[in-house]
């Protein structure tokens, strides 16, 4: 596009230069909302929170620099830190695999359904549409001891249902099940991934006599790899940030059996108003989530096939 500048009259050069400045500025104008948002709502808060974590920082009153003391007392002296982290790890260890496996099974079922697939898709996605407080209230009386739907079902087969949310050994399971009810989003992502796998691969495999289970193992799963990794990482992130459901369903009880790490941070900040300590807790969470995500990515790099690797980089475009 650019012509040799020296051949042009002076006026044109000036105009061209001015146009060039505009051209160089334009992309930054377009992305400026994100840059400003990143500075004010991400980078700023991150730096601020890191600084806070080195201070004794009450909401009102004197702030004192304490160095690594918040982290030290959290790891060494605070039993609630260890307990809440352990509950979160247990939750994640069950929730994440179940979320992915069940979403994948549902997605596979839907992928093979030819009749009323739109209906079924909608049904499985519905709970994600209304996630939040409404979802939690629905679950709060499914689990209700006296008039709950679940215990009624159990009574039909002659089982005396337990007090799901009042029993420390069952409350975490109840929260996991309630969380899994919203797996429609993950299912949808995997379904779109399945639909994107070229049919020729399966046709070729069938012609060559490759059995169904082997097609699943050697075509479907590898081709779905990037999507599986994406859902794996986002599931880990959401498992560690789990707060709304527990806050509304059990308030961390009974006996602290559903006191998640996010609730621990929340309480330190907005109940005990110890902002520095809460900030330190949130950085511990960040470190864990980031480490887990990096491990997943590194580990997956060995077996995931990215279509993008064989294509020319899509960045080779100019305005």
């Amino acid at each position: 596009m650019d012509m040799a500048a020296h051949a042009e009259p002076k006026v044109d050069v000036v105009r061209r230069r001015r146009a060039n400045v505009g051209r160089h500025l334009a992309p930054f104008l377009f992305i400026s909302p994100w840059i400003l948002g990143f500075l004010f709502f991400t980078l700023g808060p991150l730096c601020f929170s890191l600084t806070m974590s080195f201070f004794d920082w009450p909401v009102v009153g004197e702030r004192t620099f304490v160095g690594l003391d918040n982290y030290r007392s959290m790891f060494m002296e605070d039993p609630q830190f260890r307990e809440s982290l352990w509950i979160t790890v247990k939750f994640a260890a069950i929730y994440v695999p179940f979320n992915i496996v069940m979403s994948l099974l549902l997605a596979l079922l839907l992928h093979h359904a030819t009749f009323a697939s739109g209906f079924f898709r909608t049904v499985f996605y519905l709970p994600s549409v209304i996630s939040g407080v409404a979802l939690v209230t629905i679950w709060s009386w499914i689990y209700s001891r006296e008039y709950g739907l679940l215990n009624f079902m159990l009574s039909l087969v002659g089982i005396d249902g337990p007090n799901w949310l009042g029993d420390p050994s069952l409350a975490l399971v109840a929260i996991i099940v309630a969380s899994l009810w919203g797996l429609g989003g993950t299912m949808l992502i995997l379904l779109t991934g399945l639909k994107a796998i070229p049919k020729e691969l399966y046709e070729a495999a069938t012609v060559s006599g490759v059995p169904g289970w082997a097609q699943m193992l050697f075509i479907t799963l590898p081709m779905l790899g990037p999507m599986l990794i994406f859902t794996f990482i986002t599931s880990i992130i959401s498992a560690f940030q789990q707060l709304t459901i527990a806050l509304l369903l059990t308030k961390g009880g009974p006996l602290g059996s559903t006191y998640f790490f996010a609730m621990y941070i929340y309480d330190n900040a907005f109940k005990y108003f110890d902002m520095g300590y809460a900030a330190a807790g949130s950085w511990v969470m960040f470190a864990i989530v980031l480490t887990l995500s990096l491990v997943v990515m590194r580990w997956s790099a060995a077996w995931v096939y990215y279509e993008g690797e064989v294509r020319p980089a899509d960045g080779d475009r100019d305005a």
């Binding site: 990143f38 808060p45 991150l46 929170s49 407080v133 409404a134 709060s140 100019d318």
Partner: protein, 270 residues
């Protein structure tokens, strides 16, 4: 035979997913007597539609609704505008540091909300925004990483020749964005708008942290108040839950085609 098993499984699972909704709705329209009856009443003998109005009037839900609508409408508008601008910037220009910035944008998705929660609270506190709806609206005007990513993928599928032709005719970059790409992006915008609407409509933690005054509450906070205030007002909780579910359901129903196509499209083209 295989098909029979497939559909039997699907129907069984559907029942599992629908049962809670069914139960909620029935609870909302039951009489108090049937509510506590055992065995539970699966089909009420009379339908008490007035339960909805009664529940609505127990708290200033009119105020909550208008607060929710203000937040959802203003923030959705901001999200659509800002995310599409940024996505266009990343998709259609080459500039120094672009790829690094884009990776940075994607990386921000991995930051737990908890890390930003406390400093954001203090930041909004300093700005005097606590107990106003601004913390729930203003950040939406600064683009969301996930939506930027989604819209960028979509823009990349629009042929570059269209932009070049428009430029020949004297259109500047903003014209190309506003008059060509926005209309072409409509399906993806519907998708983003729907997702954002649902997030904003269902948001509980944001309002919980940033709002104190009951007159500023959104519907989700109002619903959660039922648990603390009254012992357990099951009928009201069910009725408000049903009401709260309706707008997202209606929106999902209307936008379904776009959502499926858009989601499928972006993955195929991604």
């Amino acid at each position: 035979m295989r098909k029979t098993v497939l559909y039997a499984t699907l129907i069984l699972l559907s029942a599992l997913f629908i049962a809670p909704f069914y139960w909620t709705f029935m609870t909302a329209v039951k009489s108090t007597a049937e509510l506590y009856q055992f065995p539970p009443v699966l089909w009420p003998s009379e339908w008490h539609w007035e339960n909805f109005a009664a529940a609505w009037n127990k708290q200033p839900f009119g105020t909550y609704l208008s607060n929710s609508l203000i937040v959802v409408v203003l923030s959705t508008f901001g999200q659509l505008l800002s995310s599409s601008l940024v996505a266009f910037g990343f998709a259609r220009f080459r500039f120094p540091g672009r790829d690094a910035l884009f990776v940075l944008l994607l990386a921000t998705m991995m930051i737990p909300w908890d890390v930003k929660m406390i400093p954001l609270y203090m930041e909004f506190n300093m700005l005097g925004w606590i107990n106003t709806l601004k913390p729930l609206i203003v950040p939406a005007y600064f683009a969301d990483a996930f939506f930027v990513f989604l819209l960028r993928q979509y823009i990349m599928t629009i042929p570059m020749e269209i932009d070049e032709a428009a430029r020949m005719d004297g259109a500047n970059s903003f014209d190309i964005y506003w008059r060509i790409h926005l209309p072409l992006m409509l399906p993806a915008l519907v998708l983003v708008g729907t997702f954002h609407f649902m997030n904003a409509w269902n948001d509980y933690l944001g309002p919980l942290i940033f709002l104190n005054d009951q007159s500023k509450y959104t519907l989700t906070l109002g619903l959660s108040m039922f648990k603390g205030l009254h012992e357990i007002d099951v009928t009201s909780i069910a009725a408000i839950t049903v009401i709260l579910c309706l707008p997202p359901l209606a929106l999902f129903f209307l936008a379904q085609r776009y959502i499926m196509d858009g989601a499928v499209g972006s993955s195929v083209k991604g």
